[in-house]
């Protein structure tokens, strides 16, 4: 079930190209900023080749890092689990890449 998000966050998810549907939709972890407004959490990958990159955090604590098309694969998201110790690849429509 899709939760209701503030309009601004909806637009930010769209602008970032994060998937809303598919098998693995992006479900943002929301933080409260200093003005009391909800914002999408961001965090830094701490392991693996993407170490140091900043991405969008989901409710499961995974960090979504955009990866460009390469080696025959289209643009997709490398969804970093456990700080980057493992990751899954999710297409722009929210489905796992083979």
């Amino acid at each position: 079930m899709t939760k209701e998000l503030p309009d601004k966050i909806d637009k930010q998810i769209d602008k970032a190209g994060l998937p809303r549907g598919g098998a693995v939709p992006f479900d943002p972890k929301l933080e409260i900023n200093k003005r009391g407004k909800l914002v999408i959490g961001k965090d830094t990958v701490t392991n693996g080749p993407k170490k140091g990159k900043k991405g969008f955090v989901d409710t499961r604590g995974r960090i979504w890092i955009k990866d460009r098309a390469h080696a025959g694969d289209p643009d997709h998201w490398d969804v970093q689990e456990d700080g980057g110790k493992e990751y899954i690849r999710v297409g722009l429509q929210g489905n796992l890449l083979p």
Partner: protein
């Protein structure tokens, strides 16, 4: 022991919670401004291009409007030179870190070409060229960021 009176810029990658304040995208370019959600006021800019990623602390989100203005056609010279201001209208320091500055430089040959310099101007670590369609796309993404920031106010 003597203590320094200088305020040290907190470098990227240090701990602290951040959230997305504003973002924009155009073509292969994506720009985000992150804000610290706790502790002292800090903002970082993330610029993602087809083959480059930059992430650096900025003095404040106000720099976004200045960069948009910087990408526009030349209006006339200014004399300020501090962070976030324009020096003879040909360079704009956009990063907060004074030890490793991040600076935009306007080309004096082509109107649609800029250089993004990381490090000192005399001996840069990175000299990245932004030209033609990329300038328009980055400016477009920045305008979306600015809109987000304006909506926040």
């Amino acid at each position: 022991m003597a203590s320094t009176k200088h305020t040290h810029t907190i470098r990227q990658g240090q701990k602290g919670k951040f959230g997305l304040l504003a973002n924009g995208s155009s073509g292969p370019w994506e720009i985000a401004i992150d804000e610290a959600t706790s502790g002292q006021d800090r903002w970082c800019a993330q610029i993602e291009g087809p083959s480059v990623t930059l992430y650096f602390e900025i003095p404040s989100p106000d720099i976004v409007g200045k960069i948009i203005q910087f990408f526009e056609p030349r209006q006339g010279p200014t004399k300020e030179s501090s962070i976030g201001s324009m020096k003879r209208n040909c360079s704009l320091v956009i990063g907060k870190d004074k030890k490793t500055p991040t600076t935009l430089v306007k080309d004096d040959e082509y109107n649609d070409r800029f250089f993004l310099i990381v490090g000192s101007m005399d001996s840069p670590i990175v000299r990245f060229v932004i030209a033609g369609r990329d300038v328009a796309r980055i400016a477009d993404a920045l305008r979306q960021v600015k809109q987000d920031l304006d909506d926040e106010e």
